[in-house]
Structure formats: C-alpha cells, structure tokens
C-alpha cells in the first residue's frame, strides 16, 4: 500500500511539470510566435499626434501678400468623457441643430468611445471664442485650431488654385498623406504642394487606459518637429493681374504676360474667374459644385488649358522660318491681288497688287504667307514635302508650339501639331500636297495653341531668338531656389538678324497697321493681331504684343472669345496692360471704360 502510493509522487510531480510545460508552450506562442500582441500593445498605448505645419504664404513679385492662413477651430469630443450637458446652450453657441449634434455624437461614439472625433469643423473665431468661454460646462468637449487659406484680394483664383481634402486614391498612393489631410488641388497650390505643405511633425504620446496623457514616448526621441511650409514669391504683378482681370471681366478669354528676359509670368488671367475665397472652409464643397456646373466654366484655366487656332499671329513665325530656310528674303515681294488662288483653292485676302515683306506683317497678308508656306514645303533642300513639313514642324517645336513648355503650372496642355507620321498614315501612301497645309500659313487649320504658348512665342520674338521657360514662381523662401530648368536659356533655330525685320513689321502693325487701336504715345509697342476662326460662332479676337521695342519688358498675348477681329478688343486690352505695367498709369480712360463696359457672351 505504502509502496504503491509512493509511486504516486511521480504522477504528482509529472502533473506539476506537465502543467508548467503547457504554460511555457503557451507563453512561447503568445510572446515569441504571435506578433499581433505587440501591435495591439502599441495601439493601446501610443497616440500618434500629428503636428500640422502651417502652409507656406504666397506673395506677388513685389512682396505683396496674396495668400495667407487664417485660424479656424474644430470642436472635438471624447464620448466617454461627456457628462450630461446643456444641449440647448451648446447648439446656440455653435449654431447647430440639436438633431445634427445628436447624430454627430452618435457617429463619434460608434468610431470610438475614448478616442477624440471631430464633430464640428471650421468654426469661425467669433463662435470659437463664445464656445471657449463656456467650454468648462461641456465636459469631454475640446477645441482644436487649424488653418485655412485666406486671400488678400479676390484675384488670380485659377492661377493660385485651391486646397482641399485628399481623396482615397491619394491616400493610397502617397504615404505622406492621411485621410483628412489637405492638399493643393489646382494651380500653384498643386504644382508647389511639396514646398507649400512643409513637413508634418509627429509626436508620440503615451496614454493610459483612460486616454489620459502620460508624456512623450522615450522623452520624444522618436518625435519629429513640424516644418512650416515654404513661402513662395511668385512672379505675378498683383496690380497687373488685377487690372487684367478687370479688363477681361464679363468676357470669356485669357491673357498671359511674360517678362521676356527672365520667362517670369507677370500676369495670367482666365476669364471668367471666381473669388478664391469661395473655395475654402465650410462652403468649399457647396461652392465648388456650383462653380463646376457653371456653363461659363470659371474653374477652367483658359490661359493654359484652352486650345485655339492662333490666326494671323502665326504669320510672324512663318515669316521667321521662311527667312531662316532661305525661301524668302526681306526683299521678297509676292502678289496678293485679293487672295491666293491655286486651281479651285482660294484663300481670300484684301490687298491689291503685290506685297513686300514688311507690309505682309503690317497688313497681315494671307496670300503672302500662303505662298511662303508653299515655298517652305516645296523647298528643294528636302527630297520630299513630308521632310520639309518635318523640318517646319521642328522649327515650331523649338518655339514651344505643339508641346508642353514644362512650366510650373499644373494642367498645361500641349496643343495640336501633328507629326509627319500622323499625316503619312492619314494619306495612306498618297502624295503629300502642300495645299493641304496651306491654311496653317495663316494660323488656321490643324493647329491648336494655348495663350501661354503664344505669349512665349511673343517673348521669343521680343528676345530676338531665345526664351526662358515661363514660370510663375520667382523664389522659394527668399532664395533663388526654383528648379534649375527655369534658369536655362532656350534658343530657337532662327538667326538673330531675321527677327529685326519681323519686329519692324510688328511695330508698324501698331503704328499704322491692323492694330492702331493699341497705339499710344510714348511707348513703342510691337504687336500682331489675329482672328481665330470659330465654327461655333463669332471669331476669337487675338493680339500678341511686346514693348518697348528695344529692351522689351513685357510680352503678352490676349485672346477674347467671340469678339471678332483681334483689333477690336484684344489689341486695346493688351495696350492698356502694357501702359499700366510700364508707366503705372492710364492715359486713355475712355478706352479702358469701353473695354470694362463690354459684356460678351457671358450668361
């Protein structure tokens, strides 16, 4: 008996060892094999508090503040800290309906009962201070400050762009952004997002089971400080921009003004526009919907996104290419006789007899340039028309036509300029005939350019053969730190001497040619009118100009939709802008008044 029982000591010892072994296996699985508990532990303890940097400010070229930040306040609740409170008073203070409040609180609770949720967004300062005074009555309610964009004057909306909440595709594709973050959606806000946003900071705080802060994790060893967004100094001249918007008001169109020797964009107007203040804060979604439904497309930046045939302004480029290729000289005289006829083809014009080179520009002779382009395409330097076309097209590309200029503006389009291969395919082995291209001689046909591209062409002419890529930002945080591509001089394939006769012609255009309406005493303006044929209605009025003739300070392109001849509206607008920019005064208030009072096709 005693013996049998003493064997039981081993069974008992075995039981002890077995249980402890099972526990050790369980502990091994729990602590070493399964890593999910470490994650749960972090979720328990760490609160990653993101420090939002303030967004960089935006200035004009003269240091005038355009975009700044304004503080707004969110109301945040921690559901399980809320005690009974005076709902009526709360609703009055922040101007919210009781049902809405209850709904928001329910949603917050569903998200988490101990983590904070925003229940009211973007409270203005007045309501905030009212609430703040009474906040002690509302346990579990907190306020947190945030900033929204604010504008010192309602200009340059399309250019500056706007900021909005990130969508899920951005959150999924860019690790920097988290749901609820803000991002530049258009304009400068978009293209300079990385500079403007700064760098978010992260504070790792530890909390206890009641969500009370228990200090920084490892004394802030892993915290990062938020870096304030960089300030941008744009090349925009706020006064010129504002004046341009004033002149284009109640008209559809766009204008781009460039400082030729630097490529800096002085003004970039798309009309109709909108007040940039509409797209911030609480009203943004509502206003955005309204603006995007507007038939006049105020959200569309026509200055960089609209394509149209350049019309007669294009003759200047054909003139330059003709001279460069040697198919004409400044002495070349060509017949007009009211138009250009080849067989059944007829390009109408309005000159009697023959036209010389200078006059071909001054008087904008269609027949002259039709013949120039025919010569360019039939140039026997090339074994075929298609190769001559390719050579011509390469010249255009060097002028920045038919391709993106690679500016710092978002949503730039490249326009229309088809390749040789495109036409090879279209003609399907049939012969290339120059007549098929002849309307391009006068900027019609299969051509699409943006106002920005033509403004750049104007700057190239003003510079006598080179350009800097147009750009809107001059400096980031005071120093000249913008992308180096904007400091590179781009030359076109046209010898410098060929520009002078063209420029002489352009001077005459204003002095005694098609754009006398742009003339005023004191400044030598060189320009070229254009009329873009519009199959849907009245033609678009175009004017390209730079001034002064020597040492040009401004090159610009103005286009007004459905305004008829370039000389009617585009030319006087350009001339007023040049006068304003160069002299800071307006000598012809009656012209200004006429333009401002004109309303064209605006609903």
């Amino acid at each position: 008996m005693e013996n049998i029982n003493s064997n039981r000591r081993f069974i008992i010892t075995g039981l002890f060892i077995l249980v402890l072994l099972i526990y050790m296996i369980r502990l091994f699985l729990l602590q070493v094999v399964d890593t999910s508990y470490k994650l749960s532990a972090e979720n328990n303890v760490f609160r990653h508090i993101i420090q939002y940097p303030t967004r960089g400010l935006i200035f004009d070229r003269n240091g005038k503040l355009l975009v700044f930040n304004q503080s707004v306040f969110d109301v945040v609740i921690v559901p399980n800290e809320i005690k009974a409170f005076d709902t009526l008073l709360f609703c009055q203070l922040v101007d919210i309906k009781k049902e809405e409040l209850i709904q928001k609180m329910r949603e917050a609770k569903r998200y988490s009962s101990y983590k904070p949720s925003i229940i009211i967004q973007l409270l203005d300062f007045k309501k905030f201070s009212l609430l703040q005074e009474n906040l002690y009555k509302f346990q579990g309610f907190y306020t947190q400050a945030r900033t929204i964009r604010s504008y010192s004057s309602p200009i340059a909306a399309n250019l500056l762009g706007y900021v909005g909440e990130v969508d899920t595709s951005i959150v999924n594709n860019n690790p920097y952004y988290a749901s609820g973050d803000y991002i530049g959606i258009s304009g400068i806000e978009k293209s300079y997002e990385e500079f403007l946003r700064g760098k978010k900071g992260l504070k790792i705080q530890m909390v206890d089971v009641h969500n009370r802060l228990k200090g920084s994790y490892k004394d802030g060893k892993f915290d990062t400080i938020a870096i304030v967004g960089s300030n941008l100094i744009t090349s925009i001249d706020a006064d010129l921009q504002s004046y341009g918007e004033k002149l284009l008001a109640n008209k559809k169109g766009g204008l781009v003004a460039i400082e030729p020797n630097s490529g800096e964009i002085l003004a970039l107007v798309a009309s109709p526009s909108y007040d940039p203040g509409l797209l911030v804060g609480k009203q943004r979604t509502k206003n955005y919907r309204k603006l995007s439904l507007d038939a006049d497309k105020p959200l569309f930046n026509r200055a960089i996104g609209a394509m149209y045939p350049p019309g007669s302004t294009f003759k200047t480029i054909n003139a330059l290419i003709g001279l460069q290729e040697g198919v004409i000289t400044t002495k070349t005289v060509l017949p007009c006789n009211g138009g250009f006829r080849v067989g059944s083809f007829y390009q109408k014009c309005h000159h009697g007899g023959s036209v010389n080179f200078i006059y071909s520009i001054q008087g904008s002779c269609n027949a002259y340039y039709s013949q120039v382009l025919m010569r360019i395409l039939r140039d026997n330097k090339f074994d075929s028309i298609s190769h001559a076309y390719e050579n011509w097209r390469n010249h255009l590309l060097s002028f920045g036509i038919g391709r993106k200029l690679n500016t710092d503006l978002s949503n730039e389009v490249k326009g229309i300029l088809f390749t040789k291969e495109f036409y090879d395919k279209r003609f399907q082995g049939r012969e290339w005939r120059p007549l098929q291209f002849v309307s391009m001689a006068i900027g019609q046909g299969e051509l699409g350019v943006t106002p920005l591209q033509m403004a750049n062409v104007c700057a190239i002419i003003a510079n006598r053969g080179y350009y800097y890529i147009p750009h809107i930002v001059k400096a980031i945080n005071q120093n000249d730190s913008i992308d180096k591509r904007f400091y590179q001089k781009h030359k076109v394939n046209i010898n410098k001497e060929y520009f002078e006769p063209v420029i002489d012609g352009m001077e005459l255009v204003v002095q005694s040619g098609t754009a006398r309406s742009a003339y005023f005493q004191g400044i030598d303006i060189c320009g070229k009118t254009g009329t873009a044929e519009n199959p849907h209605g009245e033609d678009h009025s175009i004017f390209m100009a730079f001034a002064p003739k020597e040492n040009p300070k401004i090159a610009l392109l103005v286009f007004v939709e459905n305004a008829g001849f370039g000389s009617t509206y585009a030319a006087p607008i350009a001339s007023l802008l040049i006068e304003k920019y160069l002299t800071d005064s307006i000598s012809r208030p009656y012209v200004e008044e006429r333009i401002i009072n004109t309303k064209l096709n605006i609903e």
């Binding site: 002890f16 526990y23 206890d208």
Partner: protein, 471 residues
C-alpha cells in the same frame, strides 16, 4: 530544542534560495508595475513597493520565529490553530471590512489582514495531523468524509465571505488525498463530471452523446483489461453512432433524446461483457451513467439559476462561448496583450507600457505576472515557471524524505496549495483558466499572502530539519 547551528546545517538551502529569488523578483516587478517617478526610491514606504519591502522584512522576522519554535509544537498545536483560524473566519464575517464585494479583511490601523490566507496554513496542519493517525484509512468512507469535512469547513466559510476564488484553493487538497492513497476512481469520476460540465455548457449535445459511451468503454477497459471485449465495445459504439447519424437525417433530436440514447448505447455496450462475464458491478456502472445524465441536466439549471452573472460570464469567456473584450474578456485580453508584447526578451525594466498605464487590471496583485511578461519577455516568464517548478519538485522531494507521516502529508499540502495558486494565477493571465482572483505566491503585492505563503513554506522547512530526529 536543537542547537541553532544544527538547524543551519540541516535546513534546505535550495528552497531558501528559490524562495529568495522569487520574493526579490516579485518585489522588482511590483516596483515596475506601480512605479511612480515622483517617488522613485524602491524603499519609499508611501508606495506599494516600499510597503512590500516592509512585508518582506516582516517575513524574515516570521521565518526566524518559525525556526525558534520547537518543531513538535506544530503537531501539538495544529488543532488549536485550526479552530482559531475558523473562529477568525467567523469573526471576519461578522466584523470584517468589505473590499471589492468580499467581506474578508480585518483592518488594524492601516494594515489589512486577510484571515483566509492564513487559514490555508491551519488547514494544511490540521489535515496532516488528522490523516497521520494510525488507524486512518483514506478509502474508508467515514474517514474520507471526516477529512472532506475538515477541508470543506474553512472553504465554506470563505465562500460565505463572497471570496469564491480563495475557497477554490481547497480543491488542491485532492492532490494530497491522492498521494495518501485515495482511489483514482474518485479523481476519474471528478474529471468525468468536469468534462460533462464543460460539454453540456458548450451546448454541443452530440459531444455529451459521444462522451458517455466512450466513458463506458474506458470504464470497462480499465476494470477488466480485456482488449478483445473493448474492441467489440468500440465496434458496437461505431455501429450505433452510424445508425444514429443516419437516423438523424430523418429525425430531429432534442436534448433528452440524445442523452437517453447515449446512455442506452452505453448500457448496451456494457451489457454484452456484463452478460458474458457475469460482472456484478454492472448495475453500479449503470447507476453512475444515470447520475451523469441527471448531472448534465442539472448543469444547465445550476448554471442559469444558481451562478451569478459575472461567474457565468467568466466561465463562458474561458470556454470561448463569449467574446467580451470590453468586459471580463477585457482583462484577459489586456493581460495577453501585455504578456504577448514582451516578446522573447521583454521591453526592459520599467519599460513596460501596458502594465504601467493601467491597461492591465490588478497589475501589482493578481496580474503581476503581466509585468514579468511585458518587461522580461519569454525569458522572464519561463524563468519564473522554472523557479516554481523547481520549488514544487524540491518540496515533493522534501516531503518524501520525511519519516513522520504528518510531515510528509504537510509537505504535499504545501506543494498542492502552491501549485494550485501558480497554475490558476498564471493560467488566468494567459487565458487558460478562468479569472479567479488568487495571488501568485511570493510575487503578488500584499502582506497577508506573502506572510501566509512564507509561513506555509517555512513550517515545512522547520519540520524538515527534524527529519533525522527520533520521535
């Protein structure tokens, strides 16, 4: 009384070493669990770690007293001590202070004592004394009932204090009874009823249906050790199960039907060998099965009508029937997170975040093991288990080398109580046992528990020093 140098020579230093390691490591972990930067000194008496130091110091005093007292006194005084302990339990019921719903504390000027902790020592002494008398026969019903009463009496008084956890510890004495010759059938029977209890709660009545016939076969097999007969029984079982499963497509079984069929199948299985071999215990076995059926039915009733809601929830959470991460399950979940996040080597001393920031409940008392797990990792937790394992094995060795029957039984009482505490406490923190609020010996904060375990263990060491003496 022996010369003290003799005691020094004969005392088991191995156990003292393990004891010291556990107490010191426990103290370090209490320090980490309730660490307060403003009172960073581990001896700061205003903090629990400072107090624990005080309790440890008093424990050393207690050890000295235990060694001074003549070893024979523990035998002579065992009944008076037991009666005194029972009186204390009654007194605490009448005059005690209620803490967390349990009226189990005495308070003397800031120091709180929990008599239930010390009753374990008294019961261990009384049980050893009672079972060591010459004419005690454990498998004699009257003797067994007397011992059971001895164990049940303090447990019942503790249940009356509403401290079920501390009362459950007395289950540990079953191990002692087993060592002293209790028929394993009692244990198997107990085990079967636990299985049935869990099975019927898991609501899968098919499980019950399977458990009963399998039991019948097992019983048969162990009683008669006839492989051929057992195989026949198994084949019959499989056939009957198949028959029932096929029938199941046509009939819907209710609970009663399943149980009755289960028992009938079992009886049929047993009837064959009973008839062939003329086994006289057949009706006894049949009676056990009927009792099992009755038990299974009563479980549901007891569970739903006798147990309180929080007790039901605890059982359900452990059985995996309820997922309650914010309620009872919350504690288990947070405890598992704390231990699991420790990884292999832990986050380092005072680097634990889960325990320090109160995610784990009772972090310095019942859930102190979480701090070990979080800050010392698998190395720490397994180290503690190895220390306890070594302690238990060493106690069994000590118990077995006693000449005196009483000393041996007492040794097993010590091992069993410690084992129960460790198994339930650690099991609770890793989600293997229900959340029963009992401390981890030598580790958990608290004077009462530290002192009672110290007294429990060192009386054994004191008795061990006299093992060579002639009685």
């Amino acid at each position: 009384m022996e010369r003290s140098s003799g005691i020094f020579k004969r005392v088991d230093w191995g156990i003292i070493l393990i004891y010291s390691l556990l107490v010191i490591f426990g103290w370090i972990n209490i320090y980490a669990a309730v660490y307060n930067e403003d009172y960073g000194v581990i001896f700061d008496i205003s903090q629990r770690y400072g107090k624990q130091f005080l309790w440890i110091s008093i424990s050393i005093l207690l050890i000295i007293i235990i060694f001074i007292i003549d070893a024979r006194a523990y035998e002579f005084l065992s009944y008076p001590i037991f009666i005194f302990a029972l009186l204390l339990l009654v007194a605490v019921l009448l005059f005690g202070k209620e803490v967390n719903g349990a009226r189990s504390w005495f308070e003397f000027g800031g120091i709180r004592l929990q008599p239930a902790e010390f009753t374990k020592v008294a019961t261990a002494l009384a049980v050893s004394r009672f079972m060591s008398v010459h004419d005690f026969r454990i498998n004699r019903m009257t003797d067994l009932i007397k011992v059971a009463a001895l164990i049940f009496l303090p447990a019942a008084l503790i249940i009356l204090q509403n401290d079920t956890g501390s009362a459950l510890v007395y289950i540990a004495f079953v191990i002692v009874l087993y060592r002293e010759g209790l028929s394993p059938w009692y244990l198997i029977l107990g085990f079967i009823f636990i299985l049935l209890f869990i099975g019927s709660l898991l609501a899968s009545l098919y499980a019950v249906f399977f458990v009963l016939p399998i039991l019948a076969i097992l019983v048969f097999h162990f009683m008669y050790r006839n492989i051929r007969m057992t195989m026949i029984g198994i084949v019959m079982l499989v056939l009957l199960v198949l028959l029932l499963v096929i029938n199941g497509y046509f009939f819907h079984y209710d609970k009663l039907k399943i149980l009755v069929t289960g028992i009938l199948v079992s009886l049929v299985i047993l009837a064959y060998p009973a008839f062939v071999k003329r086994i006289k215990h057949y009706w006894l076995i049949a009676a056990v099965l009927v009792a099992a059926m009755a038990f299974t039915f009563s479980v549901e009733y007891i569970f739903n009508n006798v147990l309180e809601k929080h007790q039901r929830t605890r059982i359900n959470v452990v059985l995996g029937l309820e997922d309650d991460p914010k309620g009872v399950g919350y504690n288990i979940n947070q405890s598992k997170i704390a231990i699991g996040s420790g990884g292999f080597s832990g986050k380092g001393f005072l680097q634990g975040t889960q325990t320090k920031f109160d995610f784990v409940p009772e972090q310095d008392t019942d859930f102190i093991y979480c701090t070990v797990g979080e800050e010392w990792g698998f190395l720490g937790t397994s180290m503690v288990l190895i220390l306890f394992g070594a302690l238990l094995i060493r106690i069994v060795v000590l118990a077995e080398r006693q000449r005196s029957k009483m000393n041996r039984i007492y040794g097993y009482c010590v091992a069993s109580i410690l084992f129960f505490h460790v198994a339930v406490n650690v099991g609770m923190t890793i989600g293997l046992t229900p959340v029963i609020g009992i401390p981890l010996p030598f580790f958990s904060y608290g004077g009462s528990s530290l002192w009672s375990f110290t007294i429990l263990l060192f009386i054994l060491l004191r008795l061990d020093t006299t093992r060579m003496d002639n009685f």
